[in-house]
Symmetry: C2
Subunit: 363 residues, 2 copies
Amino acid sequence: MNLLNLLIVDQEAMMSLKTEILEQPEVLARLLENQRATIETIAAALCNYDIRYLFLAARGTSDNAGLYAKYLWGAYNRMPTALATPSLFSLYGKPPSLKNALVVGISQSGRSPDIVEVIREGRRQGAPTLVITNAPDSPLAQAAEFVVDIQAGPEQAVAATKTYTAQLMAIAMLSVALNRAAGEADDRWRDLQDVPTLVRQALDLDPVIERAAERYRYMEQCVVLGRGFNYATAFEWSLKMKELAYIIAAPYSSADFQHGPVAVVSQGFPVLAVAPDGVVFDDMLALLKSLVNQQGVELLVISNREAALSLAHTPLRLPIRMPEWISPIVAITPAQLFSYYLTRAKGYDTEAPRGLRKVTLTQ
Amino acid sequence: MNLLNLLIVDQEAMMSLKTEILEQPEVLARLLENQRATIETIAAALCNYDIRYLFLAARGTSDNAGLYAKYLWGAYNRMPTALATPSLFSLYGKPPSLKNALVVGISQSGRSPDIVEVIREGRRQGAPTLVITNAPDSPLAQAAEFVVDIQAGPEQAVAATKTYTAQLMAIAMLSVALNRAAGEADDRWRDLQDVPTLVRQALDLDPVIERAAERYRYMEQCVVLGRGFNYATAFEWSLKMKELAYIIAAPYSSADFQHGPVAVVSQGFPVLAVAPDGVVFDDMLALLKSLVNQQGVELLVISNREAALSLAHTPLRLPIRMPEWISPIVAITPAQLFSYYLTRAKGYDTEAPRGLRKVTLTQ
């Protein structure tokens, strides 16, 4: 390898965030193709347990994937989800009783000790344990009875992108597989097959987003709104804005926002919203209209509905035909690109945000 | 009543937030005195159900009280808590199965339709339902099988204060009563008797806080850290800062903060922390030290430990002897005063924050 090649390799390594964002259609297609059989086997095995609810442990981006699971498995599998309180396990040494729970851990690296401890405690109590990870040899995976390997390939950038959408896909696949294993007719595999193409279409917004990001160069704070399945999208977008662009971005459901935090907005305040077509669209639209017309906020919207897009100073248009339940896997991708380009516009390092490492070990 | 009296009454009505903050010792003492028998009766009745977990619905301040329940009932009653996803009930019409759940609603007004719908669905599914409210005649209370009336008296200010600490007290009383009803030796009633006095001592910080708030007149954003039982305190403090002072205050556990959001802080960035003595103190202290020494943040700390107070530019000293499990009821009160005085320093209306009403009706 000559010096020029080394230089190119080096530059590419430095540009891993953008590469990883653009890699997502391929990662999702591979996961669908390769892991369906494993996920169906796991779903069949889980049918042998008397499960009343999920107990789910995760941190950071993986915790946002957990929010998607909470809504999706709640709506389609009738399964309530309790997000874990890892400190009760790791620090207080007072774990709750996990009888009739399916204990789930989600982690890219599989290495945060507090998440591992929740899974270990699940096994000690005899509960079924399931881990969704990009590291099938990690301590977390080793601790669990069932493991879904999201096979996203190495993620170099500190800010997680492809592992997030792959975690969502694994969660979605499990939702379908669990229903089918229980003998229910569930034809949502079809919808999932469309996801890689929909994500590719959403990523075609790249040049639009690059231009749009300029305007937000001096933004220091904002709120991010989403609801229902896309509550997770609001949280994940907000986390990318914090990690990469150092913007205090506060995420809310359209309902929670009205119970207090709405007070922060005034004329010109930036509101980012994820509002794809679906059951919660009218509720989101009513709030966005009121924010624009009464409070005079400036809106950036990710949507495939004209009524929302036309309210926005910056409309980011999603593919038109997209079932709501899979929309979080698609809708986050323009948000990732926006966070990336805004970080560049601000002159920050997209690959190594200050104060962060790829693997965070918390107790 | 002469004109002068009318004027005084009027001014007092306008000052309800401060009055309600200072009223808390009395409200808490009354609740302890009047409602213990009712709560013990409810706890005994709940022993007849086969409960595996709690399913808890709330919004805004009441949702933060729910976070306290999640940690407290998890640690002391071994009960996992799933925070509800009200939109699955109210908008999607796809409620999860609530078999073996105790369905809990927390609401000051008892009137938000989405929270009422969760309790109604619980009853439809035959689950035991429990409501903690300041409005025992509300639709929410009428929908529930068991009702704890927090008896806080009318709350005039839009920003909830005394109803929050009263909700925490009700949650704490239920925790003790449930253990005793199950035949366990639990002598925590003693700790609870001390709470009104501890809160009164914390409120004695009033003049210190009034002076300290000046410095933050031009603060526009901050993060608020807490962990374990005081995770709830971080969220509630953050909500008061948003509702009253229009500051984008982002709340985190010390662990979640390190999984991404820590990137937002730089030299001089304001960090507010709740770090009373207890199991999680060392973990919080390690983070605060690193934030001060490595990133150069400016710290405001509510604590009763010298090691944390001495790190802070603005130390707010809590009573020294205070069991960790009740500390959230005490620690929020200086935070309420801080939010109040900061709002005054900024020249905003402490009684009627923009965009808010006392009762928020979300679907």
